[in-house]
Point group: C2
């Protein structure tokens, strides 16, 4: 994508007062929602440039190239903007697991009718192997 | 769900400085992500009480019982909390369309490789019929 086209895309996006926008990642094959994180202009530029999803880490205040440390990266398949322009939906090919706990998705805690929380997904990768390598 | 159980659930949720948390709605049958909006404590209580999804409208600064005006409500099927406790995934039975434009999902604008934006969904309901009744 050329610079003019990207600037036009960015102009349709409504960033919040921090310059951020929530981005939902959904696996393109299985359709499960695997995570939600934040993007800024720079991370969107990097995502289109590399074809791999890059978020903005609010805690580290830096670009977060998903999977750069863990290897569990996300290939961008489709980039969707909602009706109001204030949320992004990323359709991705998830390589390995999305969650830092080693689970496929970050949404593994389900609230039951009796108010207890049930864990619905198993740990697929040992987190110490994801981040200590 | 009794009051104690609900209070325990609410204590595991990390609301932001405005007392809000992003909530993604995903259709339980078709698995498409239909919208993202915000919840606060009160809207979560209302959602569990009624079994229908209730958000917090940031623009109107009031509870937003989804579908109350338009009839396009969302039945709660599953309420999932992410690993960090700062995002909610609602699995819902979407009655009618989720988007105020009359489309099934708010995520109908897809960024193409050439930088253009393609609308990927048709308008299923006339928006004037949704809100003028």
């Amino acid at each position: 994508m050329n610079i003019d086209s990207l600037s036009q895309i960015l102009s349709t996006i409504k960033f919040d007062s921090q310059g951020l926008i929530p981005a939902i990642a959904q696996d393109n094959d299985k359709n499960d929602v695997v995570m939600m994180a934040w993007m800024n202009e720079e991370s969107i530029r990097e995502t289109f440039k590399s074809g791999r999803v890059c978020y903005w880490s609010r805690s580290r205040k830096s670009l977060w190239k998903k999977g750069e440390t863990s290897g569990q990266h996300q290939e961008l398949v489709d980039f969707l903007i909602d009706c109001d322009g204030d949320t992004i939906l990323l359709r991705v090919k998830q390589h390995g697991v999305a969650c830092h706990t080693g689970r496929r998705s970050c949404f593994y805690r389900s609230v039951q009718n009796d108010g207890t929380i049930k864990e619905t997904m198993k740990v697929e990768k040992d987190p110490s192997e994801l981040y200590n390598s």
